[in-house]
């Protein structure tokens, strides 16, 4: 490391240090990450355009055409009411993404606020929060979600709420730890010296630094949220019929596997798996993107 300053190198000028360039760099560096982002784009695409593009009305029943195996006219076959499984799978993308993204967003926000305040203030606040989180964690999480949905009714918003609640401890813990180690960091003190109030220091200086590890958590939770909804469907607490949703389709289709109508569960299952898979694999990439230290 020399003290003489180098003029910007050619390479630097070409790629720049903008966020977009950095994202492209992260994607290019790791093929698995790139793949996961491509798949994510595909899911977003189906969520946005899917309903307009699918060949059949996902709700249209046709008793005469029930339980048809996959064919050219019905790529993924038809279900017990003769509805087109392919259309249902694609149309379900939007709802599933909404469920997982809003559940995660909700727990992200609540967990961040709780964790950040407790981690920064410390003291009794911290103790109280920790006990509270312990209490939530002491419930078997899936059963807690079941209980909440059962108690409040199985609407989409309650499924989201239940999923969010069981995920809050993960975020709060993470943020608490990340904030705590930076509470006395040099740049925190420097921010105070620069005239920032405690709230500003916390919100604009400390908290953003917790983002990279949180991105990994977010990606894992996006997947869990969908699985959670699927599990609730299996117990009978999923979204209301006839709304297409992967979890409910897999849960209902699962009972048809042994009788040979494998496509009912397989295709929604495959989509669900791909989505969870995509979310999980995206984690490291997301982290690298929000981490300026990864910029070169």
């Amino acid at each position: 490391m020399s003290d003489t300053t180098l003029p910007p190198t050619v390479a630097e000028r070409k790629t720049g240090s903008g966020a977009l360039a950095h994202t492209i760099y992260v994607l290019r560096e790791n093929p698995v990450t790139a793949l996961s982002f491509a798949m994510f784009a595909f899911f977003i695409g189906s969520a946005l355009l899917g309903p307009a593009l699918v060949p059949y009305d996902p709700l249209q029943t046709n008793a005469a055409n029930a339980l048809q195996a996959p064919s050219w006219s019905h790529w993924f076959g038809t279900d017990n009411l003769g509805r087109d499984v392919f259309s249902r799978v694609i149309v379900a993308t939007r709802l599933d993404l909404i469920i997982s993204v809003s559940a995660v967003a909700l727990s992200f926000v609540i967990g961040s606020v709780l964790g950040a305040v407790a981690g920064y203030r410390g003291g009794w606040l911290d103790v109280v929060l920790n006990r509270f989180l312990d209490t939530i964690m002491a419930f078997p999480l899936f059963v807690l979600a079941m209980g909440i949905v059962a108690a409040l009714g199985n609407s989409i918003s309650n499924i989201i709420l239940a999923t969010a609640i069981i995920n809050i401890p993960f975020y709060a813990r993470l943020v608490r730890a990340e904030v705590n180690i930076r509470r006395e960091a040099g740049f925190t003190l420097a921010a105070k010296l620069a005239g920032n109030s405690d709230t500003r220091v916390l919100a604009f200086h400390i908290f953003p630094n917790a983002l990279p590890p949180m991105m990994v958590q977010v990606s894992l939770n996006l997947g869990w949220a969908i699985l959670n909804a699927a599990g609730l469907s299996f117990i009978g607490l999923g979204v209301r019929p006839p709304t297409p949703e992967w979890g409910i389709m897999v849960a209902e289709g699962a009972n048809f596997i042994v009788s040979g109508e494998w496509w009912l569960a397989l295709f929604p299952g495959l989509w669900l798996m791909l989505a969870v898979f995509t979310f999980n694999l995206m984690g490291d990439g997301l982290r690298d993107i929000v981490d300026p230290r990864r910029r070169t």
Binding site: P31, F139, L227, G231, V250, A251, L281
Partner: protein, 341 residues
């Protein structure tokens, strides 16, 4: 030693507010459940009077705070109440079902560790290579499937199509008799009784459900092992060990791995409580007589005492689990309970 035991005692004290919280929340949650247990249990063709009578006999006619006080009072005497749907004390019921769940969960975790930990170590020693990526994709695929789906597919393939697996009928096929109950764990009880045929029978029944759960837990364990191993391998003391000429096995396992174990143990604890939750679904698929399926049944029929008992049992288990983790921590890490950790 004094330091460790005081740290452990501290942990136990910390658990008390958690347990109180669990008691309160589970009480509120059950009361918020829809459905009227009195109607449910008055049975078919019940008249309004008989429903009222059932309500009275269940103590549900009293105001909520009073119900809560009665519940807490019973609880303090070790009485978890009586499940209305099974008519048996919740405590007995849980005691008979808990070993089934634990046996399944533990077998799944052991299986998962046996696969995930070496995978994680393998990936950590070759970061960035195709082996690393393959491990990542493999374990992520495992966690991407809903457990009930995996379970049914496994049954379909290994039992229905191939006929390799035994019939998915719970813990033991009916050709065997339950081993004499000592621990409630069939594998252990059968081994104690020296009844290897039953032992093998119980093992066969365990394979599919345990695999289902294990697939689900590979990812967190493997990921954490990899991360922890990576940072341990990059640590100065590993360099010192290598510079001192220690063999690669000693460096990898005696030095790096033992240090990496700490975060892995923490993850294991989390995964364990996670799996206990996921059990609910797997037990349903495999007709496994564990507490997960008990809880679902109870929840569906608003069986207050049973749900509360289940939640409380799980919370206790969670607290014990944390104590065990602390204990293993204090065994692995001499710094446990000091400020340097």
């Amino acid at each position: 030693m004094a330091r460790r035991s005081s740290a452990t005692l501290n942990r136990i004290l910390q658990a008390i507010p958690v347990l109180i919280g669990v008691v309160v929340i589970s009480f509120i949650l059950t009361r918020a459940l829809p459905g009227d247990p009195a109607v449910q249990f008055a049975g078919a063709a019940a008249t309004p009077e008989s429903i009222e009578e059932v309500r009275r006999s269940l103590g549900l006619d009293k105001p909520l705070p009073e119900q809560f006080l009665i519940y807490v009072g019973d609880l303090l005497q070790g009485d978890l109440g009586q499940s209305v749907s099974t008519g048996r004390p919740v405590a007995t019921e849980l005691a008979s079902r808990l070993p089934a769940s634990l046996e399944l969960t533990l077998s799944a975790l052991i299986l998962s560790c046996l696969i995930a930990v070496p995978l994680g170590v393998l990936a950590a020693t070759r970061p960035g290579t195709w082996i690393d990526q393959l491990c990542r994709i493999l374990v992520t695929a495992g966690v991407s499937l809903p457990t009930f789906f995996t379970g049914i597919v496994l049954i379909y393939v290994f039992y229905y199509l191939l006929g390799i697996a035994p019939s998915p009928l719970g813990r033991l096929d009916f050709v065997y008799l339950d081993p004499p109950r000592i621990t409630g764990f069939f594998l252990i009880d059968a081994a104690i009784a020296g009844d290897w045929e039953t032992w093998f029978g119980a093992l066969k029944q365990l394979v599919l459900p345990a695999t289902t759960l294990a697939l689900f837990t590979l990812a967190p364990i493997a990921r954490m092992t990899r991360a922890a191993m990576l940072s341990a391998l990059a640590a100065d003391y590993v360099r010192t060990a290598r510079a001192a000429g220690l063999g690669p096995g000693m460096v990898l396992y005696g030095y790096a791995f033992r240090n990496a174990l700490l975060p892995v143990v923490t993850t294991l604890g989390m995964v364990f409580s996670f799996v206990l939750g996921a059990n609910v679904l797997v037990e349903k698929v495999f007709a496994w007589p564990g507490i997960g399926s008990y809880a679902v049944e109870a929840l569906v029929v608003s069986d207050y005492a049973a749900v509360q008992g289940f939640v409380l049992a799980m919370a206790l288990l969670f607290v014990i689990l944390n104590l065990l983790i602390d204990l293993s921590y204090s065994l692995i890490d001499p710094r446990f309970g000091t400020s340097s950790k």
